[in-house]
């Protein structure tokens, strides 16, 4: 399985390297980001790749694809994502949410014509956001150090293992022939990137050091989704 997925192999090697390199945390560094040197290097690599290829493609995609079609494509992938969400809600013991997620998949796959239209949200089956990283967190695993993944960007050690599990349970992973799987996965990647243009504006406006801004936003956002939008408010240290 892994042999046929070059990215998985690359990531496994990177994980192994970083994990075995031990705690080389700098004395003055951020305790959540002991591998800042490595992370910043991968971050610049990702930024370069985004500037040169991914963003222009996503811009072109947004310009060419009319809004209704774009919505349909987003819905299609969102419906597949709901399978993963349902499984993870179940693994976290949130049976009611999980049942609702499965209902979404059934409704959107049938009435919503194979997931092209999101009919379930209008029928009060709210969309949730779950993945294996969150499930591992619920099971008691801490974040571990911050870890920037090539191509996929901000993550932590826990969430990287989560991502590996996500891929194993993603229906798209098992689409054959490979060329079809890769094309559809690529389309999803570009569609996701295009959906990030709004958030990017806020980052541009707010970030003094983009790397640090995205890192801290990553931790906050993950905490938010782990607690299903109700994280405990941090104490003020004034």
């Amino acid at each position: 399985m892994i042999a046929r997925q070059p990215y998985l192999r690359l990531m496994a090697v990177a994980l192994l390297l970083v994990v075995t390199s031990g705690c080389a945390a700098r004395q003055n560094g951020n305790p959540r980001d002991p591998w800042e040197g490595y992370n910043r290097a991968v971050f610049s690599f990702n930024e370069g790749l985004d500037r040169a290829i991914i963003k222009p493609v996503a811009k072109g995609y947004e310009a060419v694809v009319p809004t209704p079609i774009n919505t349909i494509i987003t819905n299609f992938f969102s419906n597949i994502g709901d399978v993963l969400t349902a499984v993870n809600n179940l693994l976290q013991g949130k049976v009611r949410d999980s049942a609702s997620d499965f209902s979404r998949v059934v409704l959107n796959s049938t009435l919503g014509i194979g997931g092209l239209i999101d009919v379930a949200t209008g029928m009060t089956f709210e969309k949730h956001d779950e993945d294996f990283g969150q499930t591992f967190a619920r099971w008691g695993f801490g974040n571990g150090p911050y870890f920037v993944l090539p191509l996929f960007g901000p993550s932590t050690i826990r969430d990287s293992f989560g991502l590996l599990a996500d891929w194993q349970s993603d229906p798209l992973t098992y689409v054959r022939p490979y060329v079809l799987r890769d094309s559809v996965t690529g389309l999803r990647f570009i569609d996701t990137r295009a959906d990030l243009f709004s958030a990017e504006k806020v980052v541009e406006a707010g970030a003094i050091d983009k790397y640090a801004y995205l890192r801290d936003a990553y931790f906050q956002h993950r905490n938010y989704v782990i607690f299903d939008g109700m994280p405990p408010r941090e104490e003020e240290s004034e």
Binding site: N28, N30, R32, T67, P68, N70, T71, D195, F197, S198, A199, K201, V202, E204, A205, G206, I208, D209, A212, Y213, R215, D216, A217, Q220, H221, N223, Y224, V225, G229, P231, R233, E234, E236, S237, E238
Partner: protein
């Protein structure tokens, strides 16, 4: 008669400034969020060219100045570093951080041209003096954005001291950054990087003829 109309008009125009006093935090938030939406929908430059400068300025003047507690925001963003700053340094920090917040908050909303805001269920007690009001910004064909406002009660008025977008506080997101900055260059170092950010990117080098 003309005078009466003028008077009525004047009252209507100044109304938002005081009409919300005494209302609950949710109503007060709704009032100023509606103002923001109105500005966005009516700003010609934003609607026709996608330019955000005038809308941002209007949002700042009519909503953020009276509604946002920038001093509290700055101290919250700096965390334990705040007390290391002298009163003068604090004043400069607040001024610079305000500029940054105005731009950042506005950018979260001016990416929409025809937004609708729904208020989600917010949990708080009538006796609370600190509440979080949950909203969602919607526009067809765009990803909805969860924007929460954290307010504190000052007298009869509720003031915003934190804005949380998709779980990310636009304010506390600078904590680690400021800690690092102060460690490397002291409070003045932090001020310097805020100023550099607010001045924007350096102008392109002049072309010699």
């Amino acid at each position: 008669m003309k005078k009466l109309i003028a008077l009525l008009l004047a009252i209507m125009l100044t109304a938002p400034a005081w009409a919300t006093a005494g209302l609950g935090p949710e109503e007060q938030t709704k009032a100023f969020v509606d103002q923001v939406i109105t500005i966005i929908r009516n700003d010609q430059d934003l609607q026709s060219n996608g330019k955000t400068a005038t809308a941002t300025e209007a949002i700042d003047r009519t909503v953020l100045q009276p509604r946002f507690n920038f001093r509290h925001m700055t101290s919250l963003a700096m965390g334990k570093e705040w007390r290391k700053a002298s009163p003068e340094q604090q004043e400069t920090l607040v001024k610079e951080f305000k500029t940054l917040m105005v731009k950042t908050y506005s950018s979260a909303l001016t990416v929409y041209t025809n937004p609708a805001v729904t208020f989600k269920k917010s949990r708080f007690q009538p006796t609370d003096t600190e509440v979080q009001i949950r909203t969602q910004v919607l526009q067809p064909g765009r990803q909805p954005a969860d924007i929460d406002y954290v307010l504190e009660k000052l007298g009869e008025e509720w003031q915003v001291f934190d804005v949380v977008v998709a779980g990310v506080s636009l304010v506390t997101n600078y904590r680690d950054f400021f800690t690092q900055e102060v460690r490397n260059g002291g409070i003045d170092g932090a001020i310097k990087s805020l100023q550099t950010k607010n001045q924007g990117p350096p102008p392109p080098p002049a072309v010699t003829p």
